[in-house]
Amino acid sequence: MPAPVLPPDERPDPDRLLQQVQQEEEQAKHGRLKIFFGASAGVGKTYAMLSAARTTQAQGVPLAVGLVETHGRPETAALLAGLPLLPLKATPHRGHTLREFDLDAALAFGAAHADGPEPPLVLLDELAHSNVPGSRHPKRWQDVEELLASGIDVWSTMNVQHLESLNDIVGGITGIRIRETVPDTLFDAAGEVVMVDLPPDELLARLAAGKVYIPTQARHAAANFFRKGNLIALRELALRRTADRVDVQMQHWRLSTGTGATNRPVWSTRDALLACIGPGSGGEMIVRSAARLAASSNLRWHAVFVDTPSIRHASDRTREQALHALRLAQELGATTATPAGTEVIEVLVRYAREHNLSRLVLGRRPGLRRWRLTFTERLADQTPDMDVLQVPLPKETRGSSYWRQWMAGAASIRWAGYVVATMVCGMMALLATSLHGVLELTNIVMLFLLTVVGIALRYGRGPAVLAAFLGVAISDFLFTPPLLSLQVSDAQYLITFAVMLAVALVIGQLTASLRAQANAAGERERRIHRLYQMSRDLSATLLAGQVAEISANFITAEFAAKSALLVVGDNNQLQALPGADADVDMAVAQWCFSKGEAAGRGTHTLPSCTCLMLPLKAPMRLRGVLAVQPPQTGLLTPEQRQLLDTCASLLAISLERIHYIDVARESTVEIESERLRNSLLSAISHDLRTPLASLVGLADTLNLLSPPLTGPQAEIAGAIHQSALRMSMLVNNLLDMARLESGRIQLRREWQPLEEVVGSALAACDPILSTHPVEVRLAGNLPLLHLDAALFERVLVNLLENATKYTPAGTAIHIGAKVLDDDVHITIDDEGPGLPVGNEESVFGKFERGGRETTLPGVGLGLAICRAIVQAHDGRIRGENRVEQGHVTGARFIIILPRGNPPQDDGSQIHAALPDKDNS
């Protein structure tokens, strides 16, 4: 093989190349983000951005300033002058009117400049800004993502403390918590990051000179913030983070150039991180640590929260915290999941193995008690092949200690259970007292054990534990000598009670978890059954209305929520199907539909909306939107959300199926009617034309017979011939019109010079043109036109016929053609009386004859046919009067055809390759 063979480790990996190509394609459609990145406020990011913008504007890039705060700095304001500003949107908020960045204006600006040579650019200060409540996205960076997705380039500014993964660290350094953060994925995905740097001393000098803007309410905090130590640390963080990015770029470059210089295979190890989030606070710290680890080693990562039955019994707050941590993980680029199960370790290990994750990240709190250690240890025991990394969590975090929720799950107290447990124990004591003489102490103990089992079955673990202790206490107090005393005379009884307590606790524990599992299984079974029932119902539907009904019933039964099913109507607008009772904000629904993402309550987009909007994604396309309006406030649980997603996809598939049933039915009808029309047309054309053809021929033949006809006889024969010909033309026109009207005419378009069509039209009109001289003036630079020669000849013939018909004999007809921009204009001028003024358009109507009652033959289909043919060629035709010095000098018909993309090659180069035939 002559091709050079690279050593195996230096050969570019085809998968990687493909991935790279796909990324580049994606980026080509996507806008590019450029971030002006600084260590703190006051380093001059906005100034740098605006200076760069002026240079770019001079290069002809269409740009607009979405929102830039000058904070009253004259230098910045001077730079801003002369740059086009987008209008701001006034949003009322708590009695004030806030002027905010208008996303829709920016999108409109982008759309207006989308086709230019340079992609449009929008400048937007402060990437980390939080939008006014009620805006489309809660965060400005989400606005930016939408702009980028629409192919608009964005320049923005941000400080290092706003970077999500550095949030903890910056908080630790400066002692100030920043609430407004930007996910690292956005920062890493940015096309360019420009580091705007200013040494701390100079910054402090600027601060002292009052050149740095600080909001009034933050002056006190700022005093602490702008300390030299802080500034040095922040600068180092910013420089290092930028350096990390450059490093990654370097690796990409090396990989793409395939120099093989990297000894460390960056993507070859497919190991990845799994962040295990527990209930309660602290989850976010685990997530941030995992995100940092993943980013620094360039790993993919997952975050999970294991949903156990005990956690479901626990307070909503702890659970909510875990779900918030999961959402944060998602923003930071993790794949998230909430697998369910009773054994946390088992679920975690199974998840990690299924997804090939080899490093687990857990939280660790100081002051561990013995049993907590065992959790980490047990996990480590089960995963000898995995790394277990521990993240220290602060001790003071309340909301109950970290793993206890998983192990005990007794945080929520159900008083009813305890009351019943106490009462049952009391009744059992009464019963045992009455039977005291009959029963041995061991049997009484048995009765109490029975009680514990019963309580565990009915009320779970906590009441069962109480019952166990009460049972032991009552047995001791009432039935063990000395009676009515907690003292025990015989040491034997101590063993009895110890065993009784142990057995009761174990049985209670087992029974309770069994019951929880049975409940969970029952719940799952019920849900699956519902889904199964719904899908069975859906499979029988034939109308979209039935689907809506089934959907509404299911959601009411399963979530006690109102709902609405919105589908695309005829005018491409979403409309609710009958049976919708939810209060739907159509703007949110439309957003959800056009983006194909969930929106509304519980999502990132327009969370203030009362409904959750789910796109109905079917295999072929989006079918509509499912809006669900839960009755009370609060987020949907992950399993409810999952159930809704499943429900949405079932609905989408059903809607798609119904859509295709309709399409199939319509096309059957269409094919049938088309067949009928064609057979009718061809039957008519055959049956009308054949006798006419005979008539024309026979009348003509009369003249050829011997003996020759006398004068009047020949005249009659000629008249028959003419009438038959005219009749035949009429039939042709009617049939042509019918064919053109049906829209099914197949154009046989070929590239050809206009000259040839004009020539053949003139040849066809030769007999009638004897009375009218024709002047042809075609521009020399006419391109080839993409025409159906036969049909286009009809257009010219009809126009020429009209010109001879409606103008006096001896007047001239002029045919001209020239190129104007991207069109070719063909004109046919006559020197007759012109078109009836004001009716220039109506002459193109069917059965229109220029408004004149004449004896001229024809039914007025000629121009209608012309228009239909020209329109089939994507062209336009119109008529007007030529006016010179206030007098009409004749009519003019103008045909405007698109120039198209004619082939450049005319075959001149090809003949040389052929053998010369002329010598043979």
Partner: protein
């Protein structure tokens, strides 16, 4: 007496009748067939000089008959067809038909076409013989030169080949595909604009009024016909 024999294959009795009357009035001997099957037998037994064939026959496709016929005969074939059936005409011409007439047509038109086909049979164009002349153009095939009123015309090799191919089939309709095949070879059968562009250039050199040609005639949507020899 060497009488000219013409066979008509046409299913409509009236049209057949008028064609027969018209042709008979010129003194031709006329045979008729109402079906393709009958027509093929007549063509084989009568050995006509010209065949007039309707493409739309009830018992089959006229094109099939032309294909059969061309395996054993070179007799001129004039096909009759309805308007707006360009594709049928092109197929018939590509298969071997020489000319076509669109219904309705007059007796005069038919007779003119028949005469042209008969005349063509007597024209033999061979290099080395006396120059071929039409109008004020004369072509010397041996020296490969084209003159107009005594003045030498400069034709490109493609134009020359196009012109000689056309004049060697006088009065016949040549489709775009046939010309493409003859001049550019079988690899360019779909590039019909090649023919059109060079034909336009050729007309500018040959015709006195290129927009109203007299020798290189356009058969709209189908091809070209050379006449005037």
């Amino acid at each position: 007496m060497n009488e000219v024999r013409i066979l008509i294959i046409e299913d409509e009795a009236d049209i057949r009748r008028f064609i027969r009357l018209a042709l008979a009035s010129e003194g031709y001997e006329v045979f008729e067939a109402a079906t393709l099957q009958r027509g093929l037998i007549e063509a084989g037994t009568r050995r006509p000089d010209i065949l007039v064939l309707d493409l739309g026959m009830p018992d089959g496709d006229g094109v099939d008959l032309i294909r059969d016929l061309r395996t054993w005969s070179a007799m001129p074939v004039i096909v009759l067809s309805a308007r707006s059936h360009e594709a049928d005409k092109i197929t018939a011409l590509d298969t071997g038909a020489d000319d076509y007439l669109v219904k309705p047509f007059g007796a005069g038109e038919l007779l003119a076409r028949v005469r042209a086909q008969l005349r063509r049979q007597h024209i033999r164009i061979q290099p080395g013989e006396s120059p071929v002349t039409f109008g004020d153009i004369s072509i010397d095939l041996a020296r490969r030169s084209v003159c107009r009123a005594g003045e030498v015309l400069h034709l490109t090799p493609i134009e020359y080949r196009l012109l000689t191919h056309l004049i060697s089939h006088p009065e016949c309709v040549l489709t775009h595909r046939q010309l493409l095949h003859a001049v550019w070879g079988p690899g360019h059968m779909e590039d019909t604009h090649y023919v059109r562009v060079h034909m336009a250039n050729l007309r500018k050199k040959i015709e006195t009024d290129p927009s109203r040609p007299r020798h290189l005639l356009t058969e709209t949507g189908i091809g070209y016909r050379f006449c005037g020899l």
